[in-house]
């Protein structure tokens, strides 16, 4: 009987442990990523910010970038554009975890800085519960961009991650949005800023589609993933300057566990186990 009890308790613990990853926050939110703040602004940007290591992005080496308030980073100049343009036909070299009209004149501001991820140098930008134009904080988005040094696999190699904890709005007022929706909605992806055969770009399915990326939406950013088993995490590997270009079909819906059901099941099993143990005692 004791063995059965131990088995049941173990099963309960495993079920509970399984339930947790599906609900774990995708953001790394490391303290180093909040070292420096971009002061409250609308459409603002930093100057050139050191990444802390050198990356080879589309054949050009960069050791710095511009953090733009509107959910993106650029490499050759800052970007104040607030209505998201198509990432597949732009002349701007850009990495955009959530290109939309972020307004931090109220609520939280954007932060950035360096840290380490799995022992590797990393640069992170946090958009921690940010509102939208004009000065709206009734809905907030929480997401993160992380660049991770992978020079251990080759000079300039790196990974970048888009990590999402919560997406509640997708359009600012000046992009014809109302209440955070409608108009010209957010886009997610990257571009090398070139055209024709030289173009290397990607937009996540759901880009420019109203309410697609929102929590519970058809392309919910927190419920899906790319090259990751963690819901809300999208990983891109950059090797020899080229991003292993993901097709839309590679974006995976991560099965999320039903935490309440699993928790109740676990508790019930634990109770049965203790009852059985009590009876035999």
């Amino acid at each position: 009987m004791k063995r059965r009890s131990v088995l049941m308790i173990t099963v309960s613990m495993v079920l509970l442990a399984m339930a947790i990853p599906g609900f774990a926050a995708a953001r790394r939110n490391l303290p180093g990523f909040s070292t420096t703040a971009l002061p409250a602004n609308d459409d603002g940007s930093t100057g050139q910010i050191s990444i802390g290591f050198t990356i080879n992005l589309f054949g050009t080496s960069y050791s710095s970038l511009y953090v733009n308030n509107n959910g993106n980073v650029t490499f050759d100049a800052s970007l104040g554009i607030f209505t998201p343009f198509s990432l597949t036909s732009t002349a701007t070299k850009i990495i955009a975890p959530f290109f939309a009209d972020v307004d931090t004149r109220a609520g939280n501001v954007v932060t950035f800085g360096t840290s380490t991820v799995n022992g590797r140098n990393a640069f992170g930008v946090e958009w921690p519960g940010v509102g939208y134009y004009s000065v709206h904080t009734d809905k907030l988005n929480t997401f993160e961009l992380v660049l991770i040094d992978r020079s251990d696999t080759g000079p300039g190699n790196f990974d970048f991650e888009f990590n999402y904890d919560s997406i509640q709005w997708n359009t600012g007022d000046a992009s014809s949005g109302t209440g955070g929706f409608g108009g010209s909605p957010a886009r997610v992806g990257y571009s090398n800023g070139l055209t024709g055969n030289a173009n290397a770009s990607f937009e996540l399915p759901g880009s420019a589609v109203d309410r697609a990326f929102i929590d519970g939406g058809p392309n919910s950013l927190i419920a899906n993933s790319l090259n990751s088993g963690l819901a809300g995490r999208y990983v891109f590997n950059v090797r020899n300057g080229a991003i292993n270009n993901p097709g839309p079909s590679t974006v995976q819906g991560v099965p999320t566990m039903n935490l309440p059901v699993l928790a109740i099941t676990g508790i019930l099993l634990a109770c049965i186990a203790f009852y059985a143990k009590f009876r035999t005692a």
């Binding site: 609308d42 104040g80 343009f85 134009y133 004009s134 014809s176």
Partner: protein, 111 residues
């Protein structure tokens, strides 16, 4: 003869450039006349640069990208920020003070 043809082609090109300027170029008149709202905005674009005036106050830090534009003006010592989009002959602008307060949505028609 060749010089005359080149001159005429140049003249035609110049006329075309004037006739088909950027979507923001020209004079925009406010649809409604609320107090303190710019009534006449005149804009000229050159690449991503946007210049001009709003009721005589010069446009500051003006930029345009596609149909999206943004600029500031200083009125009575207060800086107002504007941003918005052009849709055909209609200009939708949003006005706020630097701290985001005083938000107003404004509409203009192209003259």
């Amino acid at each position: 003869m060749k010089k005359r043809v080149a001159f005429l082609l140049g003249l035609l090109l110049s006329c075309a450039l004037v006739a088909f300027g950027g979507p923001a170029d020209g004079t925009w008149t406010a649809v409604n006349s609320a107090q303190g709202v710019p009534q006449i905005i005149t804009m000229q674009t050159s690449g991503e640069s946007l210049t001009g005036s709003a009721d005589g106050s010069p446009i500051l830090n003006g930029k345009i990208s596609g149909v999206s534009l943004w600029f500031s003006i200083s009125r009575s010592g207060v800086v107002y920020n504007y941003k918005g989009t052009i849709s055909g002959t209609r200009l939708d602008l949003h006005e706020t003070k630097a701290d985001g307060s005083g938000h107003r949505a404004l509409q203009f028609n192209h003259n």
